[in-house]
């Protein structure tokens, strides 16, 4: 009898796992958002709150939030559903703990993004602190640059940002972004404004961080121009 039912309705059998799958993803995504909502390091022990028993010895200059853009698995999901804050940290020890526990750059599924932004800044152009700025960006081609170690370059980018050696004291850098795509992997450094003098210095440092040769050019494009078709980069280094 059961066999008969299975034979008679093959479409149902095919569809069920996918629906269950999508439901699971939605549930997990919601769970992650819930967990991230209550996320705050204010109640965590630091060297400042407890001098004898603490886990954090090396506080960072700024608090940083890791965001993740999930690839779309369901057409009803919008950009806002896909972009999720994962976790916020404020010390070097926490950074390494998180970094060691999450997938590396080359382990992410296609169409995924990692964003590491200062706490309180959303990795969107519309955010007040991004709206007047732009980004330095370089795209590593999966074919042309197949020899490069993207995990190493992404880590170097992260370290330069949290250690704040990518800039002097300008407080110009808002965050760093990794886009994993079929043809390319892009690393972008988001800035607060478009001041050419400050940006050139930051761009030159980013080139060193990403181990780029002189002929490998990075472009700075303002967010405003990025939305326009055929817009030219503001600076090329």
């Amino acid at each position: 009898m059961k066999n008969g039912e299975l034979d008679g309705d093959p479409v149902k059998i095919k569809k069920q796992p996918r629906r269950r799958y999508t439901n699971n993803l939605v549930k997990m995504s919601e769970e992650l958002s819930k967990n991230a909502e209550g996320l705050s390091l204010d109640d965590k022990e630091t060297v400042l709150t407890n001098k004898t028993e603490f886990n954090v010895k090396h506080p960072l200059n700024s608090k940083w939030t890791l965001w993740y853009t999930k690839p779309q698995v369901n057409k009803s999901e919008h950009w806002h559903d896909l972009l999720k804050p994962v976790i916020t940290f404020s010390s070097v020890e926490e950074f390494w703990g998180i970094y060691n526990s999450i997938p590396q750059a080359n382990q992410l599924p296609l169409k995924s993004d990692y964003h590491l932004f200062k706490e309180g800044i959303k990795p969107e152009w519309e955010d007040e602190q991004n709206s007047k700025g732009g980004k330095w960006q370089y795209a590593f081609s999966n074919k042309r640059d197949s020899i490069i170690d993207i995990n190493d370059l992404w880590l170097r980018g992260l370290l330069s940002v949290i250690g704040e050696t990518i800039e002097d004291d300008e407080d110009e850098v808002n965050g760093i972004v990794l886009n994993v795509r079929k043809q390319v992997i892009r690393i972008g450094l988001w800035t607060r404004d478009c001041d050419e003098a400050k940006l050139t210095k930051i761009g030159e440092r980013l080139k060193k961080v990403l181990k780029l040769a002189d002929e490998q050019k990075i472009d700075f494009m303002s967010h405003e121009a990025s939305g326009k078709k055929g817009a030219e980069p503001l600076i090329t280094l």
């Binding site: 967990n35 010895k57 200059n61 994962v86 020890e93 999450i102």
Partner: protein
Amino acid sequence: MVKYTEDQLYEIKDAAFIPQPQVLETFNQMIEHVKEHAALEAEKFKNSKWNNGDSYIDEHGNERFYHHSSRRRSSRSGTKPQLRKKPAETVKVDDDGWATLTKAKKLHGAEEGEERSKKDFKDGTIKIKPNNKNLGSSKAVDPREAIVDKQTNTFNAFEALGDEDDDEDEDEE
């Protein structure tokens, strides 16, 4: 402002501390599910795009699909599509009651064209249809111009200034 160089940050790597393990666990699970979903979709796409549904079992016992690249050309089958419309056959019955199958007359047949041109020769009228497809201008050529070598008078300023008289003199001589 606290700053850490890359080397300084690496020195602290061993002191790693995970602030909220449950959050990261959920995050990792989500990524795993996304990956599995992507793999399923890729497999589905591959199967739907690159095979016609026919499969065979290879020497290792795996089911393999016939891919489009191994499909034969349609011209190998020997049947070509009939693009020309067949003329309709009509039954004609003559006075004696004999019925014959006749094909409808061709409108642009070569035989008919020949007949027509012979007839035109007899009548003394020749119609030339110029083939202007290789001409530089896209403008259609007037068939009358193609036949008649039209004499043209052009204005010559030297002639107008009195060369005519000399010519006349020469003629007279």
